[in-house]
Amino acid sequence: MGIVAACTVVALAVAIVCGLVIGPTSIPTWRVVGDIFAHVGVGHDTLTSTQSTVVWTLRAPRMVIGLLAGSMLAVAGGTYQGVFRNPLADPYLLGVASGAGLGATFAIIDISHGNATPTWTPLLAFVGALGAVAVTWLIGGRSMRANTATLILAGVAVASLLTSAQTFLLQQSNAESITLVYLWLLGTLSNAGWSTVWLVLPYVIVCIIICVGAGRALDVMSVGEEESRSLGVPVRRVRFIVIAASSLGTAAIVSAVGLIGFVGIIVPHIVRLLVGTSYRRILPISVVFGAAFLVFADTVARTVIAPSELPLGVVTALIGAPVFVIILSLRRPVAV
């Protein structure tokens, strides 16, 4: 456990440095690291003003949004796997993705022509994402008899409904809109500036704290709903709170960077294989590991075919799947 935690933190530090150092403008690593220290008051500036702009205005916000997205998606996925006791659960389980997709599509096809994604896209995506989860909850999560299977099925129903609405909208629109929507759906950190970071940060911090704080409750809930109730856990309230927090944080991230797949399902599983089945360990380590993983994936996404970029979702799967397969074959079977 201690070793895994230490390795994850080191990986995070390496990912942060990679995120700031690697790019089309070549800047020596020691200068960037020196400047990081200068920013926290140790030593003095080591970058020229152009280099400083590249590092702190272009690369840094992108790296930070990568940290936030990676940690939020990973912890939300881990939390969902715990609350639904289902290894296939990911942060998009209850309709966040399809809701956000519909919201974004609405915003994008609204402009009849032009080649830019309108500025209100994130807002509509955010509203769509939360709306979808709210509808899912109203259908499947409210009644006393409802169990997690009802909720998952309600999520499936809501997601298919919203996706078909989105498909209809796309089919009625033009090729440019379809391209823009498609690019948005793939997810990218390339549009992120500091303003995005400040917008998303409060949601993500609060939601991560709530999810990580639910670790012990999720550990108890691994004995099932009835038994955890008899052990003193208010199961329905815990479920509501962690679903609300995961959805809110995921919606904020998705509205800012689009749909980045794979991180939310694979990171918690990798962490589980390394540290065991206790959510008190899985969730905090997933926060750090998810952040490092996504920043690293984004560094790959923007460099391998520079000056153009690979879709981030493609890279997360390309790196994540083999890593996962290797760990899976080395360790015991997955248990949730």
């Binding site: 108890v220 004995v223 008899s230 208010p234 089945t277």
Partner: protein
């Protein structure tokens, strides 16, 4: 004061009546076993006493406080449950599993303190689980597993313990061991035990009192000897039963018709 009062209790599932107008009270330091044919409502009754089901009418009061007024945590401090089919979460150690019983005491945002750990250790010791403490729960045999579930219930340190078919799937010796362990706890700690059992012989030997349930209603309620020897018992099970005295213990034997 009775430790558990069941007052005019009815429980429904949709339009089906599972428990109908049951009134019972259970005294501290006694073991009561609910018997009855399949579908009689035994599990429903004990689950309602454990607070997992809501009465459609009537009430359950534990140590003077109505269940309906308690939240999950308050309830878990008063009544513990050994379920019929416990979920065994793979990857969890026996120690961590047994320690779940302390969650209601230290809360969801604290770890087990020194006092909690003393109680966990003492229960592990009493139930001979110390050697398994670091084992993954799924690696235990049926008897060991059942003992572990009982240990979790005992670490809850409640005065009322509800056992729903605690010996299902165990061989004869493990059945006896399990019930003996529980009997010791009743005697030593003054617990109120409410159990359901299918085995009428064991039910008669271990319980101070038997309650015969059929169709959701109490048919017989009395000392083990009187209920076991009643004609009503065979009628309710719809079969021939003989009660034989073996070294002073009642043994219930089914006879082919």
């Amino acid at each position: 004061m009775s430790s558990v009062e069941v007052n005019e209790l009815s429980v429904r599932a949709g339009s089906k009546v599972l428990i109908s107008d049951v009134t019972l009270s259970f005294e501290p330091g006694t073991w009561s076993t609910i018997i009855g044919p399949n579908g009689a409502g035994k599990t429903t009754l004990v689950e309602t006493i454990a607070g997992l089901r809501r009465p459609s009418h009537g009430s359950v009061t534990i140590l003077g406080e109505p269940l309906a007024d308690m939240n999950e945590r308050a309830r878990a401090l008063k009544v513990a449950l050994v379920p019929q089919h416990p979920v065994v979460p793979s990857g969890m150690s026996v120690y961590d599993y047994v320690a779940l019983g302390r969650v209601a005491h230290h809360g969801l945002f604290h770890t087990a303190g020194a006092g909690d750990r003393v109680i966990i250790e003492s229960v592990l010791e009493r139930l001979s689980l110390v050697v398994f403490r670091d084992r993954d729960v799924v690696t235990l045999s049926g008897g060991e597993r059942q003992r572990m579930v009982l240990a979790r219930a005992l670490t809850q340190s409640t005065m009322v313990v509800v056992l729903d078919e605690p010996i299902t799937g165990l061989d004869l010796r493990h059945q006896m061991d399990m019930l003996e362990l529980m009997k010791h706890e009743v005697r030593d700690c003054g617990l109120t035990v409410i159990a359901t059992l299918h085995d009428l012989t064991l039910a008669g030997q271990f319980a101070d009192r038997l309650v015969l349930l059929d169709g959701g209603e109490v048919v017989l309620d009395g000392t083990a000897g009187t209920v076991i020897r009643s004609d009503e018992l065979a009628k309710r099970y719809g079969m021939n039963l003989r009660v034989v005295d073996v070294d002073g213990s009642d043994v219930v034997v089914p006879v082919r018709q």
